[in-house]
Amino acid sequence: MPSHLHMKPSSMQKSPAFPFSDWIGLVPFFIFILAFLILPSLNLFSGAFKDSQGNFTLANLNFLTDQYVLKSYAISLEVSVITSLAGGVFGFFVAYAITIGDTPRWVRNILMTFSGLAANFGGVPLAFAFIATLGRTGFITAFLKSICYADAAGAQICPFNPYDHGFNLYSMSGLALAYMYFQFPLMVLTITPALEGLKKDWREASENLGATSLQYWRDVAFPILWPSILGATILLFGSAFGAFATAQALTGGSIYLVTILIGQQIRGDVLGNPNEGYALALGMVIVMAITITAYTILQRRTTRWLKV
């Protein structure tokens, strides 16, 4: 940290000049990035404005207003918004429990470690874990199914089978439950530092002034925390919006998320004009760009507070 700090002034003096010899060490990196990140991204961007003959057109963007496509954006947004809000609230309270909530040290250690694990645990194995747990023959399903009693006529009644009550793991609700497995741990990881940054003095000061617990949270803690809470929730939104593998493995592609639609477009299944796939992808990048910009702005606000 200190060495980093005292480097800053010298960089300030140097930065305007930037002679070529200073950049030469970055050439391999930039060549790699240019070839395998910038070029594909630019291609994506320009492809969205080209017809199949390669002429400039805005027609592909019309495709974004296609009913089918709008529906897929709606589904993606729905899953992402629901899981980011639910995951955000749940994760916040868990973070609260392990910081201010006075749970013992070992609880905190377990929950932080598992959050690190679960936030990294996604994709196909996550889908498998939920199929084994909540699928038609899964562990919890089997358990709930086995709670039975005989009614007056002597027929077996098993009132707790979730599949009799409209639950289906291979649908939106199942997908949302699976996403929650990485969503709330992500919230725990991102919001815990902010909660740790709440000074005890602030609470004591407000109590000395006669504030109730509710007033403290409403007038002191929440105004300080909201940028981090909102920022973290946006991060969750982004992580759900871009997810593909879990949905693919869980539903076999039967829920038309935008990512699933793009996947089918790559395989050449659905859409007539390949350039419409570019428009689809461009739409996603725009949503993500807005998301990350909002996150960055909120993050700046937070760090300003926590440094005080």
């Binding site: 970055l26 929950l111 936030a119 196909v124 498998f128 562990f139 990881l189 871009g242």
Partner: protein
């Protein structure tokens, strides 16, 4: 009174979180052990481990993981070193570039990659070998946010300029400085970056699937479509692998400032 109420509230959420963590994990473990009717057995695991396709795809992903880690380290250590030594002003730009893979959804990135390299002038999908070059590049890009951050954090803890000047005054050239001074000092940062990078490659589905290479991810999807118990066994095994990688990182970076990494799907 008040303290006690707060405590209960905290416990409620802590227990709820633990249930959400452990129930699916336990359910999966239980399910994976029930392949033999009425018995607890390791049959599902044995079936998976005896499947030649599993072994082949695991070997493929592991080899690709090692290649990816090697090239990634060779690109990012000199780059970050150079930034700290000569161009601290360029760090914010590089940092933004390296988090781009977080911003662009993987499926969108792969779409762009395939459309760019499946036709002239830079065709890279004709032979398996060329496709492997492309897929390695893709893996490097996808794990770049982790690798860059790990090395960046490591580089911050060493005094790059003093070390470089000391080595230069002893007559080392740039290559020797990197190999004999910078790499050894960064070994823990490199190791934790390498582990996350490796775990990313092993668990990756989209690149292997759409570039049609025999990686572990597509194999798992295939098994998931046709089998019942083996997927649960695979899920437990990949839990274990993620666990080992994270455990090793924590073990090696004890007391260091390596942050918990976020997401990789």
């Amino acid at each position: 009174m008040k303290g006690k109420r707060l405590n209960l509230w905290g416990w409620f959420w802590a227990v709820a979180a633990m249930l959400y963590f452990f129930v699916p994990m336990y359910g999966t473990l239980d399910f994976s052990l029930r392949m033999k009717k009425g018995l607890i057995s390791l049959l599902a695991y044995r079936t998976v481990l005896a499947d030649s396709q599993f072994l082949a795809s695991f070997r493929y992903s592991a080899i690709m993981g090692l290649i990816t880690v090697t090239i990634s380290v060779l690109i990012f250590v000199p780059t970050v070193y150079w930034i700290y030594l000569r161009l601290p002003g360029a760090r914010p730009i590089i940092e933004i570039i390296t988090i781009l893979p977080f911003i662009i959804p993987v499926i969108v990135y792969v779409f762009g990659l395939i459309r760019t390299f499946s036709g002239p002038p830079f065709q890279l999908t004709l032979t398996p070998f060329k496709t492997d070059i492309l897929i390695t590049a893709g893996y490097i890009v996808l794990s770049m946010p982790y690798m860059f951050r790990a090395i960046d954090v490591g580089m911050r803890t060493i005094d790059v300029r003093t070390l470089t000047e000391a080595a230069q005054s002893l007559g080392s050239n740039r290559f020797q400085i990197l190999v004999d001074v910078i790499f050894p000092n960064l070994r823990i940062a490199i190791l934790s970056g390498a582990l996350i990078c490796f775990a990313t490659v092993i668990g990756e589905l989209i690149l292997g699937d759409f570039l049609v290479r025999p990686a572990l991810g597509p194999y798992m999807v295939l098994v998931g479509r046709s089998r019942a118990f083996e997927p649960a066994a695979l899920a437990i095994m990949s839990y274990a692998l993620t666990w080992i990688c994270l455990g090793l990182i924590q073990f090696f970076s004890r007391g260091g400032s390596t942050q918990q990494q976020l997401t990789g799907r």
